[in-house]
Amino acid sequence: MGEEAGNLSAFHFFTRSLGHLERIIMLHTFVAYVEDLPGVLTRVASLFRRLNININSLTVGRSERVGLSRLTLVCEASGEAGHRIRASLFKLENVVDVDDIAGAPSVTRELALIKVAATPQTRSQVFELVEVFRARIVDLAPESLTIEMTGVESKIEGLIQVLNEGQDRVLEICRSGKLTMRRGHHTSRVLKAMGAGSEDSSEADGAMVQALEDTVASDTQ
């Protein structure tokens, strides 16, 4: 199970019938830096509500910039909607930068906490699965245990599926939603867009980093 599974799902195309029109609906992943102020999340969410677009996943947390939060937002919308969503996000006063990840090389991860019913007699089966999926046990109680799992969406779903096979052992699932970061030197581009740190963003550097990115990408495939 490699990282590319996550990348592929980021531009996993499928069609859906909208009335009499067939439009290409795709998954969009936006990464945005927003001011860490009350109500900012509402403004972002309200934009998608107004466009009648469902948000599949949304994660927010502190970033490397003081006073700015970073969010990763995944939604389904027509392919051509990406431009308008990005342009509209930028128009929000509290949004400082927006990146449409689309099909660019990137790392996507999700964290899940899964509570499973397990007695001392049945634990060993669960331990085996946890081992196979390279997850960890983070809480152990007489009647249950809690698994922490990090990975791409499909890997987490795979674990949940096998845990549920045969008997309903899963009691609770808590998933973080997707976290996405471009591979390579992209961070400096963001900083540059924010008016800081432009020392390593010359064209030549960019080409070099791109070559490095390609190498890393082929290594992981």
């Binding site: 009350p38 051509e80 342009a87 128009k91 006063e93 930068d97």
Partner: protein, 589 residues
């Protein structure tokens, strides 16, 4: 601090020297610093500290009769002057009454700042008396809004609000200030409260390749049309658009809000496009091989169904808002930036060209439709709204600021009052807000006291905000009001006639005697029933000392032609029926 301390010789000292003031004083001082001299508002419990401090500042406050009026007045003030209009209201119902006016400004990209009071921060969110989440309510209809609960945050928020309201694509901003923030004191430092520079939208860029491509399309076009929108006025690009049109001999079609951006009398001016645009304008667009859209957004009212819109044309879109690009109509070249800046860069690449063949073709499409226009009909005892509006245009020499409401009269005004200059037609285009005209005209009169201001409203819309007649009287201002009274909610009746088998459900309308209503306010008025009386009545209104109301009893079931029905192609217009001997039709001889 004494009451007059700030308003006397040291009136602007607080703008240069940091001074300790209450939040309420900081609000007014910041408004003064932003150049505000006029606000429109309505007091109430949660905004009382602000009203108490008003007497110390050189700002005139107009008491409205309903907060919707305050927002429309700020809007009309802005549309007439180009400055930021300011409206003030209290919490709860005062704030919610602003919402229609804020949405009106949002849809037409008008810079206004609305100030609302809110309950004290300690009881915020407790459903206190007259508490409402106005920042939540107005979130989708403002460019941005603020909830302020500390006195020291007021000046930076208000200054940023002004910057946001007028920068790039303008729009409304709301600042909600809790009562305790108005009462607390803080050090006021106008300079320190200056907002950070406007963060340019990274997708707003004018690429050299785009300019070259646009110039090439213009050079090679055989049947080009310029689509002129409201952005020309907001950007102040009238001269550049005119230069472009004259140098290239490309005809100009205007949106409703674009009227005045290009002189009506100019030989290249085709007139208004869209749902009630003249047939030759819409045909020219449908036949064009190049559309140059300047500061307009391909609204559904100007495109008809998008599937069949100008299919033969390449499209150049010059627009300040990146989110408008390819939103309604796919374009071939997008030049995203301030219109006058873009045109300054584009014009050096544009050479003169001969446009006579295409202009001749459009002339032939026009035929004699204009000659047989309704306004040229002999007086056969009918009083048509078109006649009334055309007469007002003739008598005022087209020099009045005309503020229209929404409906049939609005379209007739667009067709029969010819605007030579920008900011002379004030109308709610995007939201289509009935009740807009009277309060917006009051705002326009405060912006341009030296100009003649006319309200043209229907009998339906006028009644939505007629209470503002009292505001006119209290403020002693001169506004002329023409009510186009047909006893129907005319535009809805027209739709019922065309699309609902003439089932006139809930559109016949009983109105008060508008002249008596005006009289009850101390405003003079006249009722006009025949065409022969129109000119005299208009003269009487113009020469009267105070405000004057004219109640024009026009044909009850006249419709606006031509009309593109919703969902039809732009060239599929409903024309005047030929059976009426009074009216022109494409089929009559």
């Amino acid at each position: 601090m004494s009451n007059q301390a700030i308003n006397t010789q040291a009136s602007n000292a607080h703008l240069t020297t940091p001074t300790r003031l209450t939040g309420a004083e900081i609000l007014w001082a910041t408004l003064v610093g932003e150049g505000v001299t006029q606000v429109f508002g309505y007091p109430g419990g949660a905004i009382l500290p602000v009203y108490d401090a008003l007497r110390k500042f050189p700002i005139h406050h107009t008491l409205v009769r309903h907060e919707q009026g305050a927002a429309h007045m700020a809007d009309g003030y802005s549309r007439a002057s180009g400055k930021v209009g300011v409206a003030i209201a209290t919490s709860g119902p005062g704030a919610t009454n602003l919402v229609t006016g804020i949405a009106t400004a949002m849809l037409d990209s008008i810079p206004i700042v609305c100030i609302t009071g809110n309950v004290s921060s300690k009881i915020l969110g407790t459903d206190a008396f007259q508490e409402v989440d106005i920042t939540g309510i107005t979130l989708p209809v403002t460019k941005h809004n603020f909830l302020i609960n500390r006195a020291e945050d007021i000046a930076p928020a208000v200054r940023l609000a002004f910057q946001i309201a007028k920068s790039a694509r303008p729009g409304p901003v709301l600042v909600d200030i809790t009562k305790d923030a108005q009462q607390a004191t803080a050090l006021f430092d106008f300079e320190a409260a200056k907002p950070r520079p406007v963060r340019p939208h990274p997708m707003r860029k004018i690429e050299d390749s785009g300019l070259a491509h646009a110039a090439e399309l213009i050079r090679n076009a055989k049947r080009p049309v310029i689509l002129a929108g409201h952005g020309i006025i907001e950007s102040g690009a009238m001269e550049q658009v005119r230069t472009l049109a004259e140098r290239t001999q490309i005809p100009v079609a205007l949106t409703l809000l674009g009227l005045g951006a290009f002189p009506a009398s100019h030989e290249l001016n085709l007139g208004m496009m869209g749902m009630h645009g003249e047939s030759w304008v819409n045909h020219a667009i449908q036949e064009a091989d190049l559309l140059i859209a300047c500061g307009m957004r391909f609204d559904d009212r100007v495109t008809g169904t998008t599937a069949t819109y100008a299919t033969k044309a390449k499209k150049i879109h010059i627009e300040v808002d990146p989110s408008e690009i390819n939103k309604n109509i796919k374009v071939d070249v997008a030049l995203v930036g301030d219109l006058s800046e873009v045109l300054e860069q584009l014009l050096p690449r544009i050479a003169g060209r001969d446009g006579s063949a295409w202009l001749k073709t459009i002339d032939s499409i026009k035929g004699d439709a204009a000659v047989r226009d309704i306004k040229n009909l002999p007086d056969l005892g009918h009083l048509y709204a078109a006649h009334v509006i055309h007469d007002i245009w003739r008598i005022t020499n087209g020099n009045a600021i005309v503020v229209t409401d929404v409906g049939q009269h609005q379209m007739w005004e667009a067709q029969y009052y010819h605007h030579e200059l920008p900011r002379m037609l004030i109308t709610s285009g995007g939201l289509g807000t009935m009740g807009f005209a009277l309060p917006a005209a009051i705002g326009a009169k405060f912006a341009c006291p030296e100009k003649e201001v006319w309200v043209i409203a229907g009998d339906g819309g006028f009644q939505m905000t007629a209470a503002e007649l009292a505001t006119i009287v209290q403020e002693k201002i001169k506004i002329n009001i023409a009510i186009i009274n047909n006893g129907f909610l005319g535009m809805v009746r027209q739709w019922q006639q065309f699309f609902y088998d003439s089932n006139y459900e809930s559109t016949p309308l009983i109105s008060p005697d508008f002249v008596k209503l005006a009289d009850a306010h101390g405003i003079q008025g006249l009722t006009v029933r025949t065409r022969a009386e129109v000119a005299g009545a208009v003269d009487a209104a113009r020469s009267a000392n105070g405000a004057f109301l004219l109640n024009f009893m026009v044909e009850k079931e006249e419709s606006v032609y031509p009309m593109v029905s919703a969902g039809s192609a732009l060239h599929e217009m409903i024309r005047r029926p030929g059976s009426d001997p009074l009216l022109e039709s494409p089929n009559d001889k």
